[in-house]
């Protein structure tokens, strides 16, 4: 069967921006891929989809779900059709992210030192001090090169006219970059020659740039500093990513129990005794990092690591305390920060955000709840949020009661009807909603963003939630020259 049928059930409603279709014509950037797919039979495409799944399984690109004492290996769903971004779209996104990160970094430095932005009344003091991720332990401590955010995974979405919006700034321990890398590897295998023929920019430099940045942070002046990646261990759902990055950078993958502090220095326990550690790329959250300072029952951290950090004997990436800058209540003030610190107009827009801690805004959100999404300010992964358009009356009522207990913990945003991109579903292409998470790296030489990122996709028809914990999958993401 020649695949002219491939597109015949692709319907996009008029209120959605589609990445592939503009009215009834296929956008220029997708033509190469669509032509290529149409030369293949449904059987071949099904085989390729199967082959992709097998490769993820065999390489162990999986996470383990434990139930009844037995581990079950799962893969994150992967859609074989790439998501394509044009060169002009990318340069716009890139400049917007660069601007935003610059401002966020300055904000972190400011808020943990002189707090000019609070004194000048740009960001309200209570919003900062009520944020659970605002850590006094970081006050007045100069981080190396004034860089707090070394790695950011900023989430972007597009609404119905194709405008890009920033949805979230992930500045703590953003994950997903290994999927950006692995998805590309899989595409190379299942669609030979397709990538060079479409002039897709490469993403493989990511680990090299990150490694270079980590080396440059070493407090000891040595040719060969010891860099480690600190993981919570094999039961963490992102463990695969930790091993991949450690391997690609050639650094040691350690757990908290491998490290020990002596005289405010960090050492790892090796077969030949203790070896000093210079830079820690940690994938353990702030709260678990040091049982002496944060959660006393944390088994994942290292007792005394904060004092070593504050003495400047070890660099920690990302910096501790970044959560105050990607808090969902602070988010609303990022455009103001950009104007305040950089004296520039924000390039990328924020989604309008209402603080439920503020009486008028709360009343507005509650009155219009069916058009709103309400989120917890410190939540992530799509947990604890309410989609007003699809929730039942009871859900809304009980959620409202929760909100009133502590309104500061919630924000409301109008529901944005995410853009859609083609997905391969049982022999047909179907539109499904997507977002985009590019990964930005900040080092002493500036900000670098690898041309690509993670496209998450809501595989359920009509769903607007792309989080992997809520049935989302991912796609290879192409940036064209």
């Amino acid at each position: 069967m020649q695949t002219t049928d491939l597109l015949n059930s692709y319907y996009v409603d008029t209120h959605t921006w589609d990445e592939m279709y503009a009215r009834d014509a296929i956008r220029q950037q997708y033509k190469g891929v669509v032509d290529f797919l149409q030369q293949m039979s449904i059987d071949e495409l099904n085989k390729k989809e199967e082959f992709a799944k097998r490769m993820f399984m065999s390489q162990g690109i999986t996470f383990t779900v434990y139930s009844s004492g037995e581990g079950i290996e799962k893969i994150f769903p992967f859609d074989i059709i790439p998501r394509i971004i044009t060169a002009s779209e990318w340069s716009y996104i890139e400049s917007g992210i660069r601007q935003r990160l610059k401002a966020l970094n300055l904000f972190l430095k400011d808020v943990y030192n002189n707090q000019f932005i609070i004194k000048d009344g740009i960001v309200p003091v209570d919003i900062v001090y009520s944020c659970p991720h605002f850590l006094r332990e970081m006050h007045g401590f100069p981080v190396p090169h004034d860089i707090y955010v070394h790695i950011a995974g900023i989430d972007l979405i597009r609404d119905q006219d194709g405008t890009f919006y920033i949805l979230e700034d992930n500045l703590r321990t953003p994950s997903g970059v290994s999927y950006m890398l692995e998805n590309r590897e899989i595409t190379k295998r299942i669609f030979p020659d397709l990538i060079p023929r479409n002039n897709v920019r490469t993403v493989t430099e990511y680990p090299d740039i990150l490694h270079r940045n980590l080396v440059s942070l070493s407090p000891r002046q040595t040719v060969n500093p010891t860099i480690v990646l600190l993981t919570p261990g094999i039961y963490n759902s992102a463990y695969f990513e930790h091993t991949t990055l450690a391997r690609l950078m050639g650094v040691e993958l350690v757990e908290g129990r491998d490290l020990v502090i002596d005289n405010h220095r960090v050492f790892m326990k090796t077969t030949a005794g203790l070896q000093q550690v210079d830079v820690i790329y940690r994938r353990v959250d702030d709260e678990f990092l040091d049982p002496l300072v944060f959660k006393p029952d944390s088994m994942l951290g290292v007792a005394g690591i904060m004092s070593a950090y504050r003495k400047g004997n070890v660099a920690i990436v990302n910096a501790v305390g970044n959560g105050v800058a990607d808090d969902k209540a602070i988010y609303a003030y990022v455009p103001a920060m950009i104007r305040y610190y950089l004296n520039e107009e924000p390039i990328l827009k924020n989604v309008p955000t209402y603080q439920l801690g503020n009486l008028e805004e709360r009343e507005y959100v509650l009155a219009n709840i069916e058009r709103m999404v309400v989120k917890k300010t410190n939540g992530s992964g799509g947990y604890g949020m309410l989609m007003g358009n699809s929730a039942t009356d009871e859900e809304i009522a009980s959620y409202k009661a929760e909100i009133l207990k502590d309104p500061r913990q919630y924000i409301g945003q109008p529901i944005i009807s995410l853009s859609s991109a083609p997905c391969y579903m049982h022999g047909r292409l179907k539109p499904r909603r997507v977002d985009l998470r590019p990964f930005a790296l900040c080092g002493p030489d500036g900000i670098q963003i690898v041309p690509g990122g993670l496209t998450r996709v809501a595989l359920r028809e009509g769903s607007l939630v792309v989080n992997s914990s809520q049935g989302g999958g991912s796609k290879d993401t192409w940036v064209l020259i």
């Binding site: 162990g60 391997r247 040691e252 757990e255």
Partner: protein, 310 residues
């Protein structure tokens, strides 16, 4: 190298060696069970390789398929191949950045192969030998990939230390149990019995080439304990253990090195400079037990001096 990493590599390797040993043993015992005048008993096998109590193992001792299933895929059996492979894989998973991608994928594939439900059914309804062969080949692939792709560093040494320590213990174990089955009677002539024992550790051809006088207990012991060219003999395992251990010598951790070096040297002399006659004089069981104890002690010393991290 991190102590935890060394520990995981060592155990990954021990578990893989154990897997290989168990699978070969099962294959040959199954073959032997088809070639027995009386009804074949799996009891000695169950006694070495499982924790089953006397009553339960007597109950299934004559049911080959049940035993195979129990030994290969039973989740309740801590020593089933499935559980051992799972543990080997967990260890490998936590040190993925220290083994090659090829080695990890091989182990991961092994894990997925043995969890394949069709395979489980095959053990019951098809020819079990083909299924054991699939698994044994997967293990051989692991050995090959480790040998061809792994860098000759510290990690490779720990992998081999684990492998040969485990092999030494296994060979001593198999011999001990086979003889206990015969009441340590070394004078009995029992061709089929010794033949299958040798086959199970790939020593059959070498035996035929070395000894022209048929199957005798004395020669079997000599081959399995003292033959330096036989890759599954006790002395071969100890020689290799020593060889890879010597590569760990460095200026750091000197004291630990000296201590373990002494232990390995002592047991090596004990095996190398002995004869079958003197072994029989001491009693085979006592001798093999002594060797095993010494090997276990070396394992404990490694744990103390190289792997301690918590």
């Amino acid at each position: 190298m991190l102590s935890r990493v060394a520990d995981s590599l060592y155990w990954m390797s021990r578990y893989m060696e154990r897997t290989d040993g168990i699978l070969r043993m099962l294959k040959i015992n199954y073959a032997s069970s088809q070639d027995d005048i009386q009804e074949f008993s799996w009891k000695p096998v169950l006694r070495i390789f499982t924790y089953l109590d006397e009553e339960t193992s007597t109950a299934i001792a004559h049911q080959s398929r049940t035993v195979l299933q129990y030994m290969v895929t039973d989740k309740e059996n801590a020593n089933s191949v499935l559980n051992i492979i799972t543990r080997a894989r967990e260890n490998a998973r936590s040190v993925q950045d220290h083994i090659t991608k090829e080695l990890w994928q091989c182990l991961n594939d092994f894990y997925h192969t043995i969890r394949d439900e069709q395979l489980v059914r095959g053990l019951h309804s098809d020819d079990p030998v083909s299924i054991l062969d699939v698994l044994i080949r997967q293990g051989l692939l692991y050995y090959g990939i480790a040998d061809v792709t792994m860098a000759r560093g510290e990690g490779f040494s720990f992998i081999n230390i684990g492998k040969f320590l485990e092999r030494g213990v296994q060979s001593a174990d198999i011999l001990d149990v086979k003889f206990s089955d015969r009441g340590y009677d070394v004078t009995r002539q029992d061709t089929t019995y010794w033949k299958y024992l040798l086959l199970s550790i790939s020593g059959y051809e070498l035996y035929l080439k070395t000894y022209r006088s048929g199957f005798e207990a004395r020669n079997v012991v000599e081959l399995i304990v003292l033959n330096e060219d036989f890759p599954r003999s006790v002395i071969y395992s100890i020689n290799q253990l020593q060889r890879y251990f010597e590569r760990l010598k460095s200026d750091r951790n000197k004291e630990a090195y000296r201590k373990i070096d002494f232990m390995i040297g002592r047991i090596r002399s004990k095996v190398k400079y002995t004869t079958v006659e003197s072994i029989f004089q001491q009693g085979l069981h006592a001798y093999l037990n002594g060797v095993k104890e010494d090997l276990y002690e070396i394992g404990i010393a490694f744990n103390q001096h190289y792997f301690a991290y918590s």
